[in-house]
Symmetry: C2
DNA sequence: TCGGTTAATGCAACACTATTGCATTTGATA
DNA sequence: TATCAAATGCAATAGTGTTGCATTAACCGA
């Protein structure tokens, strides 16, 4: 199932309304290969001859993040669709510093090791954020 | 040697001037246990009865980052002193989501594994960013 | 299909964060 | 101590993110 359709299902199942702005944001994020910022989304929607208030975009993105449908990529200040909807948990990103293209993966062993080290340091981790920047195959 | 003294040495050795603003920023970051934003620094300096323009603070932090004397903690939008000056390379952070206190560590095995996975995915990593959020011993 | 209800949106205003160009100041060197 | 380039401070501006409130529209049941 496509990302957009799946997301709409999740929204409905949690009692959230499926509105035009939410669909617009989902479609924009779906079509992007690199992280898009709220204002990126605003511009991209406008190019399609439509309009969304930036406040709405912020609120929609907050919601989608809380539902784990999109991720915030801190090193880029933008958002991407979750590419591993079937594998919740610890997601990691490879981000090309040149073109911004993003690949997502997850690795249980790595996650476990990280947690072990944290515990040994007296820390109780809840969430791991891992972003590697470098060059993708094409940009190299 | 203290963080400030070491940093001043590095500045001199690279041909950068050791100025009052640079020393103020270094001392502020040195004294902080949690990440501080440029405007945090501005306020903290003012509380000591002094003043720095925020533009200067941004520029000083950029420089210190490029020299790997401070790190930017993306999940907090703030800066911390590098606590492992003797161990350059891949640094990782444990950040308490409640009090913001930060612990720094590095782990070669983890780093190596990460790079291997990236390579296998056709990606050439240059820099790893890892921040785990959770609770520190005290906040738990 | 059509109202009624309430979540969601859009707008206005504002607060915070970050950047640029340029005149002035100051640290390092001789 | 005088010189000179680097660094700072200032002014202006651009970009990013937040809040409150009136209006709109998605969903639900009749």
């Amino acid at each position: 199932m496509s990302f957009v359709k799946y997301s709409i299902q999740v929204l409905r199942s949690k009692g959230y309304k499926v509105t035009r702005p939410r669909k617009e944001v989902l479609e924009t994020v779906e079509s992007a290969t690199a992280p898009v910022s709220p204002y990126d989304i605003s511009r991209m929607v406008q190019q399609r001859g439509k309009h969304l208030d930036h406040v709405t975009i912020y609120r929609v993105l907050d919601l989608l993040c809380s539902l784990n449908l999109v991720h915030k990529v801190l090193s880029r200040g933008g958002f991407v669709k979750c590419g591993l909807l079937d594998k919740p948990g610890c997601h990691r990103f490879l981000v090309c510093r040149q073109c911004g293209v993003l690949q997502e993966f997850t690795d249980e062993a790595l996650c476990y090791q990280e947690s072990q080290i944290a515990r040994r340091m007296g820390f109780y981790p809840e969430h791991h954020l891992t972003e590697s920047s470098g060059l993708c195959q094409r940009c190299r």
